[in-house]
Symmetry: C2
Amino acid sequence: MESNTPIRRKITLSDIAAGCGVSRATVSLVLRGSPLVNRKTRARVEEELRRQGYVYNRMAANLRRRTSSGIALVLNELANPFFAEFAAGVDEVVGEAGFVTLLGCTNESPAREQAVLGSLIEHGPAGIILSPAEHSDASQVLAAVGAQTPLLLFNRELGGSLPEFAHWDRLTLDNQHGTRLATEHLIARGHRRIAFFGGHRDSSSCRQRHAGYAEAMQAAGLPIEPHWQVECAPTRLAAAAQTPALFAAAPAPTAAVCYNDAVALGLVLGLNQRGLHPGRDFALTGFDDIAEAQLSAPPLTTLAAAPRARGRQAAELLLQRLREPQAEPRHTIVPVQLVIRESSCAPSDRS
Amino acid sequence: MESNTPIRRKITLSDIAAGCGVSRATVSLVLRGSPLVNRKTRARVEEELRRQGYVYNRMAANLRRRTSSGIALVLNELANPFFAEFAAGVDEVVGEAGFVTLLGCTNESPAREQAVLGSLIEHGPAGIILSPAEHSDASQVLAAVGAQTPLLLFNRELGGSLPEFAHWDRLTLDNQHGTRLATEHLIARGHRRIAFFGGHRDSSSCRQRHAGYAEAMQAAGLPIEPHWQVECAPTRLAAAAQTPALFAAAPAPTAAVCYNDAVALGLVLGLNQRGLHPGRDFALTGFDDIAEAQLSAPPLTTLAAAPRARGRQAAELLLQRLREPQAEPRHTIVPVQLVIRESSCAPSDRS
DNA sequence: CTGAAAGCGCTTACAG
DNA sequence: CTGAAAGCGCTTACAG
């Protein structure tokens, strides 16, 4: 609650009014571009604003008008290039609309998420874009932000049940359809023993991606061995370390649908360590199309979500909500695009 | 100047005061943790705060106290992983100190930088951390932010001369020393024909990195051929496209110090296209140690700047400045660490 | 220990 | 077309 910092005296409306012999009201009308003000008066005031180097105090104006010019952006992880691109997209649209982005990172900790939301909400943002931390809970979030402030949920579902009266919009990727495409692609190339690799099953995006994989396998009448479904943290390191689990029992898979690109790149490392050449004797796909994907060896077949465009979209959805507070909550599901590169081009006949 | 959005009625101090029969002043004292309030009164007020779901309006408080709880973070490029990590570091420290981060991206455009700074300054931030856009000019920045708000310059120098009365702190990487280390490393491995590849000479960091290279070459008594100094945009694509320029004339270099990792990875591509194997028949180094560096083929020898730590450091320097507004402006130069990986291990005898 | 009053910098009916 | 007055939600001397 503490920890602010004094700032030095600044020029105010009163200084300008005094400086050119009009009332504060008139200066305010000039600032807000009102047509009521006489041209000559306006010119005089504008000259004085320039002369004294006036800077508008938007916080004071917001207080008086009971408005807000901030949009809070709360991310589970900013260092991840996917979210960095997303944030850049959000900030573009937020800025174009004359708002300012209030940033908060939670580092995947629901406790930090509570703290961050609590701090941001005190600044009275017009709306919130939240990409929840893993295991973040709907009722906790509601307690932190209240039901007044419009909120857009991005990327993940919240745990617990979303209270009816919280009209939150959602923007999510079509995870399930994405991995279904990837799996069908591998099947079309002749693979029959396909693994699902990486991620934690308690994350909603992982469950959805796994479901798309399982769906495609079932539709093709292909069985799924238990040891083809390996969980691990969604990082390169963890994925490299877990690679042996795929080959712990016979029959070994000839291909893998990975939870995301980080996991896929880790699997590439793990395969290399076993003397396998991904793209030649093992096929794999990722998810996200991060910058590294097209540069890795081999280049990664993956699912592109266009994170910057998603950021712009998220901001636009939120701005729209601000315009129509009463409209029905919307759930926007974004299709995801299969980008075919060499990593999935291994033949399946290496059985 | 327009474009705000109405928010619904919220619980205020007056509601709480009325709700438990005390004055607004008393409630305020409770909120700010004053020891003046009777225990029983405090308990009653706190209960009422909870009951009504009060949320503190920090903007109103800031206005009255003439304080600010915002730190503006203005970045030339957020999508770049280096700056994403940096931003995450800044936000950590800013949040820990009870401030909130106001984000603005400029996408390397001085015009957008002006707009972003203009918008942020209206929100009265306590301080600003600015990583300038290329070609951003000191007097422009000063015009946008004024001399009142403490500003910390990160990463790049501003064009034009910095007015004396703007006491801006600076935090920069020791670019020159970094590339000197890289060049010396290549020389120690026996290379004598070493190129400096990528970047634009009108960026201050590029000039500094080139100077470190030239310094090491000169110290070793090695000549520098004109065609070993190739400029290009600091992207993979541009670097790949410019690779042939290194080999346009004899004698060809056997190694290159690259402006940054993106350029180095592009050079890797360009070399591959010529049938050369970096790390085997050509040695190269990068700068930044981005995540891809250790994963590329071959892994990249590079200079690590630890961007998240730099972000924390930048925020701490700014907070310190807020505590001591009158202290002398500081220029902090951060050493950068040589991380040796396979890309620089090509022997030099392929002449 | 508590309350009445003034004021942060703005905006907006309402008169004139 | 312009000004006097009230008020956004808070804080802080100042009395009592």
